[in-house]
């Protein structure tokens, strides 16, 4: 048996111990977001969920009237603009991102209504605008940024398919001049300018809907285009998303036992070519009522709760950022229960409105009142403001970097081309941010403001320590 030798053993210990331990240095793991330029996606798929009831004709008119400005905001000066496959493609086309951020927004627009009644229109099967199905002529339900006639097509989908009109009560304007495919909004009061006092006229809709493929003998004035009954905005949105994906999540089948609108495999892919794999989805509600997606009529709300969490959970199953904006009834609350409607022309309930308000707030969207003033005959609010807000929301997506984990906010550090960006501060009176970044819990995203918004080709990195500690399972 060999003798123990301190001279032999010590060097072995001295060599092996530190080598073994040295490989186990402990480091805190931070999450890193915004690494990929592709995550800086410019793809936004927008779904308008319109209240298609007869009380909404004024609002639909306001939307039509102001839609040009909206498109101008999100598409840049060229109107339709150029679609880009990715931000990398856009780099070659545009010199300055910050100078005209709207130009790189690659949008797709679609419209459905809040109606979940498959029997509303001409057939007993779901038609456009029902159970989440997009409205529009076959093959033209989705408006692409690259379309030369994107504005006209969207207006056609809205004015000729999505809205409910009563031709007998609408103003007329015999001097209206328009041609198929080029139907300007009418100067119905003849004051020489198109403003908020002008309304949709029958001549305008005749022009707009000339080449629409209605069923034989029907037109924009058909009663079948008016959706009555319950307004299930959230359920309709869910079904629209379920129809838009080739692999619907489990939640889509929650209506499988419904006799009215059971989601079935034949619905898969019926809202085709709208939702792209890496896009952000923005849902815009335009309604003078609140949401009524209760279980008794096929929704997910078990009762009269106003917390939309059950639908937030459902939308999360689509594994993509989804943001919500709403132009809805003017509900003012002092505290959670003391609420009132200055104007409630649509007969909305506070619960239904709160659902939309909370949904918008929780995802970083906005909620704007659809009316202004008070009383029974209050006017429609300024849709140019709403659409500008929507344009900002869409463009703001370019500056928002979603984080994969919930961060310890104090550990967030943002870098653009390895230069640290300061945290922005908010002006309490104006609500505006200084140049820098802010953390938006609703989106779980870091949002850049002002001159701190990254330009093309700039490398954006956001480091943070996750609240739940270890970021994820690592391969070693």
């Amino acid at each position: 048996m060999p003798k123990f030798s301190i001279n032999r053993t010590l060097p072995l210990v001295a060599i092996s111990l530190p080598v073994a331990v040295g490989a186990c240095n402990k480091y805190e793991m931070f999450r890193l977001s915004g690494y990929e330029q592709v995550s800086f996606s410019s793809e936004v798929d927008v779904l308008f969920v319109i209240d298609g009831s007869s009380s909404m004709s004024d609002e639909a008119g306001a939307l039509l009237r102001n839609f040009d400005d909206f498109i101008e905001t999100v598409a840049g000066g060229s109107g339709a603009g150029n679609a880009t496959e990715s931000l990398t493609d856009a780099v070659g086309d545009y010199i300055s991102f910050t100078a005209d951020r709207g130009r790189i927004t690659d949008y797709r627009l679609a419209i459905t209504t809040a109606s979940m009644d498959a029997k509303d229109a001409w057939s007993l099967e779901p038609e456009g605008g029902e159970t989440g199905l997009f409205v529009g002529d076959d093959g033209f339900q989705v408006v692409y940024k690259g379309d030369d006639n994107a504005v006209h097509q969207f207006k056609q989908n809205l004015g000729c398919w999505g809205a409910c009109w009563n031709g007998a009560e609408m103003p007329t304007n015999s001097s209206y001049i328009g041609t198929t495919g080029d139907c300007p909004f009418p100067d119905s009061n003849g004051d020489g300018v198109v403003d908020n006092n002008d309304e949709v006229t029958t001549q305008y809709l005749d022009c707009l809907c000339t080449d629409v493929s209605y069923p034989e003998g029907e037109d924009w004035d058909a009663i079948e285009l008016c959706r009555a009954g319950n307004e299930l905005h959230l359920e309709s949105t869910l079904m629209a998303l379920c129809r838009a994906t080739e692999d619907p999540p489990e939640i889509c089948y929650h209506t499988k036992d419904s006799t009215d609108f059971p989601f079935e495999d034949s619905w898969i892919g019926t809202n085709t070519d709208w939702m792209r794999p890496d896009s952000t989805v923005v849902v815009v509600y335009v309604t003078d009522e609140g949401d009524q997606s209760e279980a008794v009529v096929g929704g997910l709300f078990s009762g009269s709760e106003d917390d939309p969490q059950v639908y937030i959970d459902a939308f999360e199953q689509f594994d993509r950022p989804i943001r919500f904006a709403a132009i809805g009834p003017d509900l003012i609350c002092e505290g959670d229960n003391n609420c009132s409607f200055p104007c409630n022309s649509g007969g909305a309930s506070a619960t239904g409105v709160k659902r939309l308000q909370k949904l918008a707030a929780s995802t970083g969207g906005f909620y704007n009142p659809i009316t202004s003033g008070d009383g029974d005959d209050c006017p429609v609010s300024d849709f140019s403001v709403h659409l500008k807000d929507l344009g900002k929301l869409l463009i703001n997506l370019q500056s928002a970097f979603e984080l994969q984990s919930t961060p310890d906010e104090t550990t967030i550090r943002a870098y653009v081309d390895d230069e640290e960006v300061d945290k922005a501060t908010v002006n309490e009176s104006t609500g505006e941010y200084t140049n820098g970044w802010s953390y938006e819990p609703g989106q779980n995203a870091v949002v850049f403001w002002g001159s701190a918004i990254p330009d093309f080709n700039q490398d954006v990195r956001i480091y943070y320590r996750p609240l739940d500690g270890k970021p994820r399972d690592l391969p070693f």
Binding site: P18, M29, R472
Partner: protein
């Protein structure tokens, strides 16, 4: 009786004499291994000499970094087996492939690793072993084996873009060999383990101190002078 006694004496003398002639010869040239004790003549003494050296180093054992470095050493040998050494080391840690993989889109994770920039250490050097080795029967190298221990400070910087600096008190341990290549020169090979007590700015709220080990392999030349 006298005749008989003489006979016996003669016979005894013959017996004894014959026995002496039968003993085998003793081989005084064979020595047992246990009997061998050789103390080699020390050709390269260190006592009283000043040793200055320049070295290259790497820290290859960290999980997320790889660090090339250079070091300068100055040692005073007060005894043959005892010396005191100052070590000035500078380097720059690089992200290794594992770090880069983690930072990539597949994981989106960034370790809060710290980059080695430099260290100043004051070591005591104990070298109890002086020996020579025969290499392939062609050449004999005289060498010694030493261990070191000391204290100092290490300067590091966060590898994440905040570049937070850390000055860490450091305990240094090491073992090495000095291979004498000439009367005044030696090739030094050393394994160092610098144990840092490091405060990291970004996580100071949740963990005040981290223990980090910078294990380095050092190779260089030193000059022994009076």
């Amino acid at each position: 009786m006298t005749r008989v006694l003489s006979y016996f004496v003669a016979l005894f003398a013959l017996f004894v004499g014959s026995g002496a002639h039968a003993q085998p010869a003793v081989d005084v040239g064979v020595i047992k291994n246990d009997d061998i004790k050789i103390v080699q003549k020390m050709l390269y003494p260190k006592v009283g000499r000043l040793e200055t050296g320049a070295h290259l180093a790497v820290m290859p054992f960290d999980a997320f970094t790889f660090t090339p470095a250079v070091a300068l050493t100055v040692a005073k040998h007060t005894r043959e087996d005892l010396g005191f050494e100052g070590v000035l080391m500078g380097g720059y840690s690089l992200k290794n492939t594992r770090y880069n993989e983690l930072e990539g889109p597949a994981y989106g994770v960034s370790p809060d690793a710290y980059r080695f920039l430099g260290s100043v250490m004051f070591d005591t050097q104990y070298s109890p072993i002086y020996a020579k080795m025969n290499v392939a029967g062609q050449r004999i190298f005289h060498h010694d084996i030493f261990v070191t221990g000391g204290i100092g400070a290490t300067f590091e910087q966060a590898m994440q873009p905040d570049n937070s600096l850390a000055i860490a008190p450091t305990l240094g341990l090491g073992i090495g060999a000095r291979i004498f290549t000439g009367k005044d020169y030696a090739l030094r090979i050393q394994l160092r383990d610098d144990i840092l007590r490091e405060k990291r700015a970004k996580t100071a709220d949740t963990q005040a101190w981290f223990i980090k080990q910078n294990v380095s392999l050092v190779i260089g030349m030193s000059k022994l002078s009076k």
